[in-house]
């Protein structure tokens, strides 16, 4: 699992707004057993994948923001090879905790939706830590 990002913050109203572009290279496998098996077994209808950013700020001990999500249906290729993706959702902080925040962790997770049964949430192995710059950008276009 690999993610590369480039980001910058922009002031919006009174809260920090972060802009993140990322690449995702991933192979979604079912690692529950000792051997890696194909994730789409007979009881998997779809996967709800999401890229979330987790970080701490002065205001809040834990923040998690979903930047991007995707529904992968049974039959879709479980390999992801995405480049230069922009976040689907606005990455607003609750306050000004993004500026100068050196440690934003991005992780890819997914919710396994079975045909019937339990709905587990799985986190992919591999994550990326990205820092936000100390200054705001006002002129860069996204």
């Amino acid at each position: 699992l690999r993610k590369n990002v480039e980001d910058f913050t922009g002031p919006r109203e009174r809260s920090d707004l972060g802009f993140v572009t990322f690449d995702i290279t991933a192979d979604i496998l079912n690692g529950k057993n000792d051997w890696q098996t194909f994730i789409f077994d007979w009881n998997v209808k779809q996967l709800f994948l999401y890229l979330s950013a987790e970080y701490s700020t002065k205001n809040n001990a834990l923040n998690q923001v979903v930047l991007w999500d995707k529904i992968m249906l049974r039959g879709d290729n479980p390999r992801l090879f995405l480049k230069d993706m922009k976040s689907k959702y606005f990455f607003f902080d609750d306050g000004n905790g993004l500026k100068g925040n050196r440690n934003i962790t991005l992780t890819l997770s997914w919710n396994v939706v079975p045909n019937a049964g339990i709905l587990p949430l799985v986190t992919g192995s591999g994550h990326v830590s990205v820092p936000f710059p100390d200054t705001y950008e006002t002129t860069k276009s996204y």
């Binding site: 809040n60 923040n63 529904i71 997770s109 919710n111």
Partner: protein, 180 residues
């Protein structure tokens, strides 16, 4: 959404009838219809309660008529990606959507935002006027598992009253025939 809400009284009665039917057919399961657009009492039994989907806001994962099983352990932390069932203050209608953002303080106070998988925007438009976040107290349960299609009979009965009467009629007939 509005037309559905104006049908509240009708829904109440059909829901009760749905309950009776259910108890007749499956005596052990005490379950209730819950949904996104109409009234729904939730029974907490054995720390899980089932809930029926009436809308398409979580497609293609869940469809109308799917039955969802919930837990409501307070100590479970709310994290993004989880499917939570919540109630908006002043409304009895519970909504089943996914958590999109959380901001949690050191002391455990948390505020979070939700969105339906099949909706283009987050749920802020659904919250109370002036409300931007949900809190722990709004959560009714967490989705843990589900069974598809089971509730389709109740959905059909809500959408097509004639069908409901037909089912009741047949059931009554069945009871009468068996009594002899």
């Amino acid at each position: 959404m509005r037309t559905f809400m104006s049908e509240k009284p009708k829904l109440k009665s059909s829901r009760c009838q749905g309950l009776n039917l259910r108890f007749y057919e499956k005596e052990s399961l005490g379950f209730l219809n819950g949904n996104w657009l109409a009234e729904m009492p939730v029974f907490e039994c054995c720390s899980t309660s089932p809930l029926l989907f009436f809308s398409g806001s979580m497609e293609p994962a869940f469809h109308r008529g799917d039955l969802l099983f919930l837990t409501n352990r307070i100590e479970d932390p709310i994290r993004v990606g989880e499917i939570v069932v919540f109630r908006i203050e002043g409304r009895e209608i519970p909504i089943v959507h996914r958590v999109l953002k959380i901001h949690e303080k050191q002391n455990g106070d948390i505020k979070f935002l939700t969105k339906g998988d099949n909706n283009a925007v987050d749920d802020r438009g659904l919250y109370k006027r002036g409300q931007h976040w949900l809190e722990k107290k709004d959560v009714v349960g967490r989705a843990r598992g589900f069974v598809p299609y089971i509730g389709i009979v109740t959905i059909l009965m809500n959408d097509y009253p004639k069908f409901k009467y037909a089912v009741l009629f047949l059931l009554g007939l069945f009871v009468l025939v068996h009594r002899e």
